[in-house]
Amino acid sequence: MGIIKKLPVYAEKVPGGGIVTTSIEKVLHYGQACSVWYLLFGTACCAIELMCTGAARYDFDRLGMIFRATPRQSDLIIVAGTITKKMAPRLRRLYDQMAEPRYVIAMGGCTVSGGPFYYDSYAVEKGVDHIIPVDVYIPGCPPRPESLLEGCLNLQKKIKQQKLSDWQK
């Protein structure tokens, strides 16, 4: 009964079982937010922290997030690491290959605004939002696994705020 109290549903017992009444949006929200599959895209130092977050101590699997190797099967791309001018078109191509609804987390200082490579570097793209639209920014160099988990929880909150009418455009 405890779980039923937290979910936004109306539950009623009828002879032979029960009826649960809720809105389609809520079902879709819970279905999407609790099982976001991410693409393994790690370029630089933040990739090691991404691996550690997926390992035993800070587990990604408890949030329902599993890594996938190809963008066709994933909902989320966690851009972990510096993006250089040579890599930028490839990142755009990966993003275009993902099916909607798709989300982007920019992890680490380099993807937010160039990070320690902002000054004096001739080959770094200063911020990944020049290339793809970003949903959640996580600062840090590299961010701790707890920061990354909080970023993913914020993404779940963002997903739960979407309206059904957004998808009809």
């Binding site: 090691i48 550690c52 990966l94 590299p142």
Partner: protein
């Protein structure tokens, strides 16, 4: 079947592929399932670290060195600090030297544990990944206790180390060493005699000894090809000549030997850490004459090199008497190994190429800088 037309085709093993070695692109010319030619295309992580360092003071360059080789960033800090100290003829205090050795060896073990986990994951085994990273978390806790960071430490500075260890460090370090020694038996029991592991790794990716020397391959890959050369013993830097350990060498030159050699190296590093903890003296941890913001080494040039977990890491430093270096050229072990790959990685199937690439343990920022 004699009338069947065959042709070669090019497959792109692109910048994003599911092993976490970074962004390396391999253009493979294949005939059926067999790889005939490999052409590595690099530069996807070229961040111009050398150009940045020309506009920073010496102490400001140390965090840049962290990002050069982030899996063993203590070694990257160390090679730059060694070069700057040689130029300025700075004396490093005894306690700082011992702390440096302890941190370098702990970092080597952490890097080899990542190798263990990621190599097994590339070949399909997911359990060793969790085992390896679980032990690495214990080592990373020790680092976090000392310098506050989990990955890019900025700890070994010019003239010593940045701060002293807290008093919980030594007992926790001894406990970590003891735990890793016990768990190594688990790791070996999981993979060493496993029939799938043996079939995929034995006699695969044979790198002959003379090819290895010609291409400048060093570190565990060279020692698994029979070259008995370890910079800690043969060209000693810091205080490595005071410790007593063996240099493991193997002669079969294949992927299986490279894997076994890295597990041997973990055991030897644990011995060095034990000896260093026993002999740790009291004293300051920074050279008293060193002033970070106005450090001006006299004009000159030096090439310093250390033994990293991937091979020889070198730093060529030119100074002209001002607070900023004129030229910093970095050399990583993975550069030479990737250069040698097209010459010994062909002839097998793509699955063999995945095993070879994983056994070389290449980190792309060392190649691209």
């Amino acid at each position: 079947m004699t009338g069947l037309r065959t042709e070669e085709f090019v497959v792109n093993m692109g910048p994003q592929h599911p092993s976490t070695h970074g962004v390396c692109r391999l253009m493979l010319t294949m005939s059926g399932e067999k790889v005939i030619k490999i052409e590595p295309v690099i530069g996807y992580l070229h961040r111009a670290i050398e150009k940045i360092c020309e506009n920073r003071t010496y102490n400001q360059c140390i965090p840049m060195m962290d990002r050069f080789e982030y899996v063993t960033s203590m070694s990257s800090n160390m090679v730059f600090a060694l070069a700057a100290e040689k130029l300025a003829e700075l004396e490093v205090p005894e306690r700082a030297e011992y702390l440096r050795v302890i941190m370098l060896e702990l970092n080597r073990i952490a890097s080899h544990l990542i190798f263990y986990g990621v190599t097994a994951m590339d070949l399909g085994a997911l359990t060793p990944f969790l085992y390896g990273l679980r032990e690495r978390e214990m080592i990373v806790d020790l680092f976090e206790m000392t310098c506050g960071q989990r990955l890019t430490y900025n700890y070994i500075r010019v003239g010593g180390v940045s701060k002293d260890i807290p008093k919980e460090f030594v007992p926790k370090c001894r406990e970590t060493v003891k735990t890793i020694r016990e768990k190594l038996l688990d790791y070996e029991g999981l993979l060493n005699e496993n029939p799938i592991w043996l079939v995929r790794n034995k006699k695969v990716g044979v790198l002959p000894t003379d090819l290895a020397i010609a291409y400048g391959v060093s570190g565990p890959v060279a020692r698994a090809s029979g070259i008995d050369f370890d910079l800690r013993r043969d060209d000693p830097y810091s205080i490595y000549d005071r410790f007593d350990w063996d240099v493991p060498v193997r002669h079969n030159c294949d992927c299986y030997d490279r894997y076994l050699l890295r597990l041997d190296e973990i055991k030897q590093s644990l011995n060095i850490i034990d000896q260093a903890l026993d002999g740790l003296p009291e004293g300051p941890v920074q050279a008293p004459k060193f002033k970070p913001m106005s450090f001006k080494p006299p004009a000159g040039e030096v090439y310093s090199r250390i033994e990293n977990s991937r091979g020889e890491m070198g730093c060529y430093l030119v100074s002209d008497g001002t607070t900023k270096p004129v030229r910093v050229k970095l050399r990583g072990g993975s550069y030479s190994q990737l250069q040698a790959l097209p010459h010994f990685g062909t002839g097998g199937m793509i699955a063999d190429l995945v095993a070879i690439f994983a056994s070389l343990d290449i980190i792309l920022p060392e190649v691209d800088r």
